[in-house]
Each structure stands twice: as C-alpha cells, then as structure tokens.
C-alpha cells in the first residue's frame, strides 16, 4: 500500500515539477540546440551566459525597480488601511457592522472585470493612466476584502482583556491597534506581505491596461514583449522566464507556512 502510494505521488510530483526543470534546462542550452531532435534533457554544456544575455537584451533592472515600487506602495496601503478596517470589524460595535462585513466578503465573489471599465475611466479622468497610481492607490482604500478578512479573523483570536487593560492605561483605538493588536498579529501581517508580493509580481492585466510607456513597464509586461522580439530564441526566453520565476521560488520556500495559513483562513471562511 505505502510503496504504491509513494510511487503514485513521486510520479505525480515529477510531472508537476518537470515543466520548471525543462525551463531551467532550456535556459542553459546553447543557441539553436533547443530546436534539435531528440531534445537534450540535460544540456551538453551549461551556458550560464544566457542569463547575462537575457539581462542585456531588456532593461530588466528598470522593470524590477518598477515592479518593486508598485509592490511596496501597494503592500503599505494594504497593511495600513486593511488593519484599520479589520480593527473596526473586530473590535468596534456599530450598527450594521455585520451586514457591512458580509458585503465586504461578498466582493471577493464579484468578478473583477465588471468594475474594470468604470475604474479605468475614473483613473483616466484623474489623468493617472500611464502612472503607477492605478496599481497602488486601490489598496489604500481598505486593502482588499481578502486582507481585511484575514486580519479580522486574526484579531478575533486575540483576548479582549488585553484591549481592556490598554484602555485602562488611557490608550485610544489607534494605540490599541498599534501597540496591542499589531505586535501580536505578525504572522497575519507576514501572510499579507507574502501574498501581495506574489500578486503584484505576477500581475499582468493591471499593468497591461494602465502602463504604456516603455520605461514604466513591469517585469510581467517586459517578459511578454520579450516573447515578441525573441520568438525563436527559446533559450533566452526561458532564461528570462526563469529570472522572473526565481524570486518567487525563493520567497515560496522561505515563507511556505504563510501561504498555507492564509489560504486556510479564507478557505475555512464562515466556519
């Protein structure tokens, strides 16, 4: 039983990981050999310079800076306004609170495309098209339902007595949030940072709609235009793709438990 199970799982895992290994293998092939038959699973010679050539072919450093600028701007918004909203939902009693909370959660189910066009027109009216603002500012308006939900659930697990004690010492809402709840919520905050990183690093539709200048491109956009220019240089394309994948892999292996925690929180919503 156990041997059979392991066999199935190993084959499955191999199929799962093979595309990534193939990406790396192709990235190390010399030019032209990606097109030979039969394909060389392991390159005869390792061409690490492909990464250098991919880096030289496009201003990846600039794209990286742009992507990180958007990420930092957006994640700060999510952390600041998300924790404020979550605090209100978890700790302050006000009429209609629960109905409002259900409404916030319901927006998770609302297809993003429906609000796409009015949002685009709104940002166009503000003359924000072709700036980073449309990709950053929305997270400053509550940080998204997922983040509010995650933080609220986390705040609910922190004993209310701690608030009371702080209040007796004369702390207001903001101080309770800042000095009592947030220091205890580091795992939840880290989850948000990690998720936001993957989200903004991978985001394609947002920059595709709002960014047109060459010098404001993000990595995802840059990689896409790379496909058009280097359509037959598969080794360089795969090298560029791998460069984009690598940071996500590092973050993923370093912060695995946060991914699992975040998903389990939302997945178990309502229970």
């Amino acid at each position: 039983m156990n041997v059979g199970l392991h066999a199935v799982l190993i084959i499955g895992a191999a199929v799962n990981v093979a595309p990534l290994l193939w990406m790396l293998s192709t990235a190390l092939q010399p030019s032209g050999s990606a097109l030979t038959f039969p394909p060389q699973i392991i390159p005869q010679s390792f061409h690490w310079d492909n990464f250098g050539r991919a880096l030289a072919a496009a201003p990846l450093g600039l794209y990286l800076l742009n992507t990180l600028t958007i990420f930092v701007g957006a994640v700060l918004g999510a952390l600041v306004t998300g924790s404020l909203a979550a605090y209100a939902f978890a700790r302050i009693r006000f009429p209609g609170r629960d109905a409002l909370f259900v409404l916030v959660i319901a927006t998770i189910m609302l297809p993003a495309v429906v609000t796409l066009i009015p949002q685009f027109i709104e940002f166009r009216t503000l003359h924000w098209v072709d700036t980073f603002l449309p990709l950053i500012v929305p997270t400053w308006l509550g940080g998204g339902a997922f983040n509010i939900f995650l933080l609220r659930q986390f705040f609910m697990t922190i004993p209310y007595e701690l608030d009371e004690a702080a209040r007796l010492d004369g702390a207001g809402h903001l101080q309770i949030l800042w000095r009592v709840l947030l220091p205890l919520s580091k795992p939840a905050l880290a989850t948000i940072v990690v998720f936001s990183f993957v989200l903004h690093w991978n985001d394609f539709l947002g920059p595709l709609i709002y960014i047109s200048s060459a010098n404001k491109q993000t990595l995802a956009l840059g990689l896409y235009s790379f496909v058009g220019e280097y359509a037959t240089h598969w080794n360089l394309l795969m090298a560029a793709s791998f460069l984009m994948v690598l940071p996500v892999l590092v973050i993923f292996f370093a912060a695995q438990r946060y991914f699992v925690r975040g998903l389990q929180f939302t997945g178990m919503g309502g229970r």
Partner: protein, 269 residues
C-alpha cells in the same frame, strides 16, 4: 457597478462624447456571433476543467492527509506551480506545446505517434488549455487539506469500530463533512474559470486564435475595451458576464441544500 450599467447604455469610443443609446448595446450582444463563440469557449473550459481540478485536488489532499514519509516535501512540490508568475508559465507552455520543437511533440515522435498541433489546431486547443489549468490546483488542494484536518478523528475511530472499510470511511464520514469545503472550492473555481485571461492572452498574443477557439469571454471583453475602445459595448459585455456568474452562483447555492452537509444549523456555507 452602477457606473458600468450607465456606460453600457451609451455608445462611447473615448474620442468623442458618449451618446445615449439605451438598450442598443444589449441588443447588439444578442446578435453578435463572437459573443456566442466566447461563451461557448468559456463554458466548455469551465465545464471540463472545474470538475477535473476539484477532483484531482481532492484526491491529492486525501492522499497527502495520510501519515506518510516526505509529506511536507510532497505538499510543497504540488503547491509550487500555483505561485508561478502566469506570464512566465504561459511562455513556458508555449514552448512545451510547440508543434515543431516542443518537448511534448518530441515525446510523440520518439513513440512514432503523429504530431498533434496542440495550440494551432482548434480541435485540440481547449484540451491543451484544460491540461494547463490542471497544473495550478494548489489553492484548492490546500483548502481541501485544511478541510480534511477538520474532520474529527473520533468519527473515524467510531467507523472503524463499526467495521467500515477505507472507502466506506471516506464515502460516509469524510465526504459528507467535507461538502462545505467542496462547495466553497466549486464556487471559487467557477468564478475563476469564467475569468481566465492572462494565459490565453499570452499564448494567443491577444487574438484568441486559432479560429477563435481560445477567445475566452474576458479576452473578447478586453479587446472590445482596450483595442477597439467600444466602452459602451464592453460594459454591456461585462454586465452579461456578471449576470451569468451571479445566476450560476445562486443556482449553486440553491442546489447546495441538497448535498452540502451542515454540522450546525445556520452554517454560512
């Protein structure tokens, strides 16, 4: 939302001022063959890929919920593809399924099987896309795993005392208790499958070709909005999609009464 409905009632190309046209955009939608093509493409994709994704994610979660060696490593490897940047993954698939020098084609040739035009023969493109979608089932998998861990061990023990087999325990203990989680993943899976965009955009270069066989609804909507600048018509399309997803979700909630098991009365899902 309301702004979108308002725009849907206008003819607006962003260059000249919007004109009020009432329901004309919705009428045009009904007579637009590409709308039906896009709906067909999207529906086929959703109907086949969502059950396959849920089925394989559940199977995987059940297998990896057992106490086996290397459990953590397996879980990591199976979840990994779900964090891949979509653009990089799409470029990779474009290469893997290339009909001239993709690795899949090389495999077929080694076995002396005929070449399959995975991404350029409209008969195969959807199959290819569904296969691709099975790579990233990690989110559903982790949520199932969490659900499985919520099934009390005492119920399993009781079933074993009653002489239940492994399958019997799965069928009559695990599965009923897991229905709320299956339901959650089903709703999320449907919503996501109706919004598939980036992979199709990168792989087809935004066209949805060959033969519009990959013209998913959101891709068509994107082209109407940002290529042809038909803001009014595109808003009508967006509303069409919203209504479809709403109907599907409500229908699912209505059907859920029949098969979703609630441990406490008044559970939300």
């Amino acid at each position: 939302m309301l702004a979108s409905l308002f725009i849907a009632m206008t003819h607006w190309d962003m260059a000249s001022p919007a004109q009020w046209v009432g329901l004309a955009n919705f009428q045009a939608m009904i007579h637009d063959p590409l709308v039906y093509q896009a709906l067909y493409d999207t529906a086929v994709y959703a109907v086949v890929s969502v059950p396959l994704q849920l089925g394989s994610a559940l199977l995987l979660a059940v297998l990896l919920n057992q106490r086996i060696r290397g459990q953590g490593i397996y879980r990591t490897l199976y979840y990994l593809p779900s964090v891949m940047p979509t653009v990089a993954a799409s470029v990779l698939w474009l290469f893997i399924f290339n009909q001239h020098f993709g690795i899949v084609d090389a495999g077929l040739r080694l076995l002396h099987l005929p070449t399959i035009y995975w991404l350029s023969d409209p008969r195969y493109t959807k199959t290819t896309f569904i296969l691709i979608s099975l790579w990233s089932i990690g989110n559903a998998f982790v949520i199932f795993l969490a659900g499985l861990q919520g099934v009390p061990q005492s119920l399993h023990d009781a079933a074993v005392v009653d002489g239940a087999t492994n399958w019997g325990r799965f069928r009559h203990v695990t599965l009923p208790l897991l229905t709320p989680v299956i339901f959650f993943n089903l709703i999320m899976g449907i919503i996501a499958s109706f919004q598939v965009f980036t992979t199709a955009y990168v792989i087809t270069g935004g066209t949805g070709d060959p033969n519009n066989s990959l013209l998913f609804y959101v891709l068509y909507l994107y082209n109407e909005t940002f290529v042809r600048f038909q803001m009014g018509y595109a808003s009508a399309l967006a509303w069409g999609l919203f209504v479809i997803i709403l109907i599907l979700t409500l229908a699912n909630f209505a059907l859920a009464r029949r098969w979703v098991y609630y441990e406490q009365p008044g559970g939300r899902w």
